[in-house]
C-alpha cells in the first residue's frame, strides 16, 4: 500500500513538472501534432524541434503525440483523444487512409481545423476535409531519385525498406524503379529496423547479387547500417548510393563520398509551416491557396555546411 502511494507521488511529481511548464506560457491557441512514428524513430526529433520553435515564435502551445509502437490503430485513438480535448487545430499524418479518415473527418466536423503533414496525398487531404497538405509526395520523390540515378549510371538496384508495413514509404522504391525504367521485382528488401540485422541483410544481398550497382535507402534507420555494410565489404564510394532523409551519419557519408546524395524532404518545414499557417488562420483568417511541397531537395557534397550544422536538429 505504502509503496503504491510512494510510487504515485513520484509519478505525480514527474507529471506535474511538464504540465506546469506548458501552463506557464502565454498561449491562447493550442494545437496537437499526431504522428504515426514509433518512439524509436529518431527522425521525428526534427519535427518535435520544429513545432517547439514554431510554438515559441508564434506564442502558441503545440503538443506532440504518437503511438509508442507505431500501431496505426492506436494512432486513430490518439486522434479521437485529441479531438475530445478540443484543441484549435490538429496536424496529423495520413499513414493509413482507411483507418484514419474516419477519426480525422469527425474532428473536422467537430469544428477543429486539420492540416495533413508528411504522409498522405493532396487528394486524400482534400477528401478528409483538411485545410491543406504539407509534405513530399512519396512516389514523385522516388521517381525523381530514379531518374537522377539513371543519369548517374545505375542499372540494377537494391531498395532497403525498413518500414515495410507502411505502404506509402514503399512507394519511394516503386517510383525509383520506374525512374530507372526497371521492374521493382525482388529489389525491395524488408530489412527490419535492427541495425545489425539491416547491415547483415545488405551484405548478404550484395554478395548474392553482384550485378547490383545502385542502392536506395529510405531513411537514417536503413542508411546508417548500410553505410557500415559498404565500409565493411569495401564497396563504399564504388557503388552508387542514394538515400532519403538526412542525419549525422548520412551527412558524413555524403562528405566522404560513400553517399551520392540525400533527398531532403525538409521535415522542419512539415512541422513548422502547419503551426504558422494554423496560427495565422485562427488569428487573422488568412490561408495560403495551395498545398505546400516541402521536398524533394537533393543534398550533395556541395553546400553541406548548414545541413551539417543542424543535422538531426532542424535538418
Amino acid at each position: 500500500m505504502k509503496n503504491l502511494i510512494t510510487s504515485l507521488v513520484i509519478g505525480a511529481a514527474v507529471l506535474t513538472a511538464p504540465v506546469a511548464a506548458t501552463a506557464a506560457g502565454h498561449s491562447e491557441l493550442k494545437y496537437v501534432l499526431v504522428s504515426h512514428a514509433p518512439d524509436s524513430d529518431s527522425w521525428w526529433n526534427t519535427i518535435k524541434n520544429g513545432i517547439a520553435l514554431a510554438g515559441e515564435q508564434m506564442g502558441v502551445e503545440v503538443e506532440y503525440r504518437n503511438p509508442p509502437t507505431g500501431d496505426i490503430a492506436d494512432m486513430a485513438r490518439i486522434i479521437e483523444q485529441a479531438a475530445a480535448s478540443a484543441p484549435d487545430g490538429i496536424i496529423t499524418t495520413l499513414a493509413d487512409f482507411d483507418v484514419l479518415a474516419g477519426p480525422i473527418r469527425a474532428a473536422v466536423d467537430q469544428g477543429i481545423d486539420v492540416i495533413i503533414m508528411n504522409t498522405g496525398t493532396p487528394e486524400q487531404a482534400r477528401e478528409v476535409g483538411a485545410l491543406m497538405y504539407v509534405g513530399q509526395p512519396e512516389y514523385d520523390a522516388g521517381l525523381a531519385a530514379g531518374i537522377r540515378a539513371k543519369g548517374e549510371g545505375v542499372t540494377n538496384f537494391l531498395c532497403v525498406n525498413h518500414a515495410i508495413q507502411q505502404p506509402t514509404v514503399g512507394e519511394r522504391c516503386r517510383g525509383y524503379a520506374d525512374g530507372l525504367g526497371v521492374e521493382l521485382g525482388n529489389s525491395m528488401m524488408d530489412s527490419g529496423t535492427d541495425p545489425a540485422e539491416i547491415k547483415n541483410k545488405v551484405l548478404a544481398y550484395l554478395s548474392a547479387n553482384p550485378d547490383v550497382d545502385g542502392i536506395l535507402t529510405l531513411g537514417p534507420v536503413s542508411a546508417d547500417p548500410t553505410i557500415a555494410a559498404l565500409q565493411e565489404n569495401g564497396m563504399a564510394g564504388d557503388i552508387h548510393f542514394g538515400t532519403f532523409d538526412l542525419g549525422e551519419e548520412i551527412v558524413n557519408g555524403i562528405k566522404d563520398g560513400t553517399i551520392a546524395w540525400g533527398i531532403d524532404q525538409q521535415p522542419f518545414l512539415q512541422a513548422y509551416m502547419p503551426v504558422v499557417i494554423l496560427t495565422n488562420w485562427d488569428r487573422y483568417g488568412v490561408l495560403p491557396g495551395n498545398n505546400i511541397n516541402s521536398g524533394p531537395g537533393f543534398v550533395t557534397a556541395n553546400g553541406l555546411t548548414k545541413v551539417e550544422e543542424f543535422a538531426g536538429e532542424y535538418r
Binding site: M1, G11, D39, G170
Partner: protein
C-alpha cells in the same frame, strides 16, 4: 458427552481460521486493482478534469482503449492462472485481421463466412500452441515466442505476395450489411445517444455531413465484447468445476494430474481461448477501421500480461482473478489516454507505466501473502 460437544461448537472447524466478514470481503486478489483504479481516477480528476477527458467523447475514448486491453487481458489472465504464457497474442491480432482482409476483400467471400473461418484458423493455431507446449514440456514462453515470429512473418508475407502491399483496405465496404460483421463492428444505443445529443447533454457535430448528430453515437461492440468476456471468464473461473481445474493446473500440475484433473486438456483449451480473445480484438478492429495492416497488434502480448499482473495474478500461475485483470486493463487504458489529456510529454508514458507496474506488483504481493498466509 457427545451431545454437549455438539451444542458447544455447532459449525466451527478448527482448521478454518476465523475472519471478520469485512476483512474477508476486502482481502481479495482484485484489491490491488481496485486501489489502483481509484488512485488513477483521483489523479486524473485532479490533473485533467477540464481537458475533455471526462466529457462524453473523452470517456468513450479511454473506455474503448481500456476495452481493447480487457479483451486480450481476459484470455491472458485465464491462461496465466493455468500456468502458461502466450507471447503470440499481438502477432495473432495482426494475423487474424489480415486473414479477414484476405478472405473477405482479396477473395471476396461473404463476411460471415470469412469471420467464422478466421476464428477457426486462429483457434486452431492456439490449439497447436497448446499441444506443442503440453506434449514437449517446453516452456510456453519459447513456443509462443516462435509463433510470435511465424505469425508476424505470414502477416507481412501473405498480403505482399497477393496484393504487393502490407495494408489491405476495403473491409468496411465488404462487411456492409453483414449480420456477423455488425456483431463485431457495430454500435448499439444509437437512439439514446441521439436523445442525449438533442437534449444538449453531449456535444454535437458543428459542421459537415454529420452536423447536428451527437459526437458519440453509440456504444461500440468492442466494449460489449469486453464486458461479456469478463463476465464469462469470471463465472468460469470462480463458479465452475472447470475453473477449479484452471487453478489446479497452474498451481501444481503434477498434483492436479494425480488427483484426476485433465491438465493437458485444460491448458490446450486455455491457449485456444486466448487465441479466441485475440481474434475478437482483431475482428472488432478491422470492422471499425476497415483495413488490416501488417503492423497491427505490435507488443499487445506484453500489454495483456501487464494488465493481468497489475490485476493481481501470479506470473507463475495458480493464482489470479479475471476481475483484477479487467481492472488492470482499465488502469492501463485510462493512464495511456489520460496522460495525453493531461498534456504530459508522451515519452513519459513508459516511465509512468513502469512505476504503476512496480507499485502494483509490490502491493499485490502483500495482499497475496495476507490471503494465502504464506510468509
Amino acid at each position: 458427552m457427545t451431545d454437549a460437544s455438539k451444542t458447544d461448537a455447532p459449525d466451527t472447524d478448527e482448521r478454518v481460521k476465523e475472519m471478520s466478514s469485512f476483512r474477508r470481503s476486502l482481502i481479495r486478489p482484485e484489491l490491488g486493482g481496485m486501489v489502483g483504479t481509484i488512485a488513477v481516477f483521483v489523479f486524473f480528476l485532479l490533473f485533467a478534469f477540464d481537458s475533455g477527458m471526462f466529457n462524453s467523447q473523452g470517456v468513450m475514448n479511454w473506455s474503448i482503449v481500456s476495452a481493447q486491453f480487457m479483451i486480450i487481458a481476459v484470455g491472458a489472465c485465464l491462461l496465466m492462472i493455468a500456468g502458461e504464457f502466450d507471447l503470440s497474442v499481438g502477432s495473432m491480432i495482426g494475423f487474424a485481421g489480415m486473414m479477414i482482409a484476405v478472405f473477405g476483400v482479396v477473395l471476396g467471400w461473404p463476411m460471415w463466412i470469412t469471420i467464422i473461418i478466421t476464428f477457426a484458423i486462429c483457434i486452431a493455431i492456439g490449439a497447436v500452441n497448446g499441444y506443442i507446449v503440453v506434449k514437449t514440456g517446453l516452456p510456453s514462453f519459447i513456443v509462443t515466442l516462435a509463433f510470435l515470429f511465424i505469425l508476424r512473418g505470414f502477416t507481412i508475407y501473405i498480403p505482399q505476395t497477393l496484393e504487393n502491399k502490407t495494408i489491405i483496405g476495403g473491409i468496411r465496404d465488404a462487411a456492409e450489411g453483414d449480420w456477423l460483421g455488425a456483431i463485431f463492428g457495430g454500435k448499439i444505443g444509437g437512439g439514446l445517444f441521439e436523445m442525449l445529443g438533442n437534449a444538449g447533454v453531449i456535444a454535437t457535430f458543428e459542421r459537415g455531413s454529420r452536423m447536428g448528430e451527437p459526437v458519440v453515437d453509440g456504444i461500440p461492440m468492442m466494449i460489449i465484447w469486453a464486458i461479456a468476456l469478463i463476465v464469462f471468464g469470471h463465472v468460469l473461473l470462480t463458479k465452475t468445476r472447470f475453473g477449479n481445474w484452471i487453478f489446479a493446473a497452474g498451481g501444481d500440475s503434477e498434483a492436479a494430474r494425480n488427483s484426476g484433473v485433465p491438465v493437458n486438456r485444460v491448458k490446450i483449451l486455455m491457449f485456444m481461448f486466448t487465441a479466441f480473445c485475440a481474434t475478437v480484438f482483431a475482428t472488432c478492429q478491422v470492422m471499425e477501421f476497415g483495413s488490416a495492416g501488417a503492423d497491427r497488434g505490435l507488443l499487445k502480448e506484453f500489454e495483456a500480461i501487464i494488465a493481468v499482473v497489475i490485476g493481481g495474478a501470479l506470473l507463475t500461475g495458480g493464482y489470479g482473478s479475471v476481475l483484477g485483470a479487467a481492472l488492470g486493463a482499465l488502469i492501463f487504458g485510462v493512464v495511456q489516454q489520460g496522460l495525453f489529456f493531461a498534456g504530459v510529454e508522451s515519452s513519459l508514458f513508459r516511465v509512468f507505466l513502469g512505476l504503476i507496474l512496480l507499485g502494483a506488483v509490490i502491493l499485490n504481493t502483500y495482499i497475496r501473502r495476507m490471503i494465502t498466509g504464506e510468509r
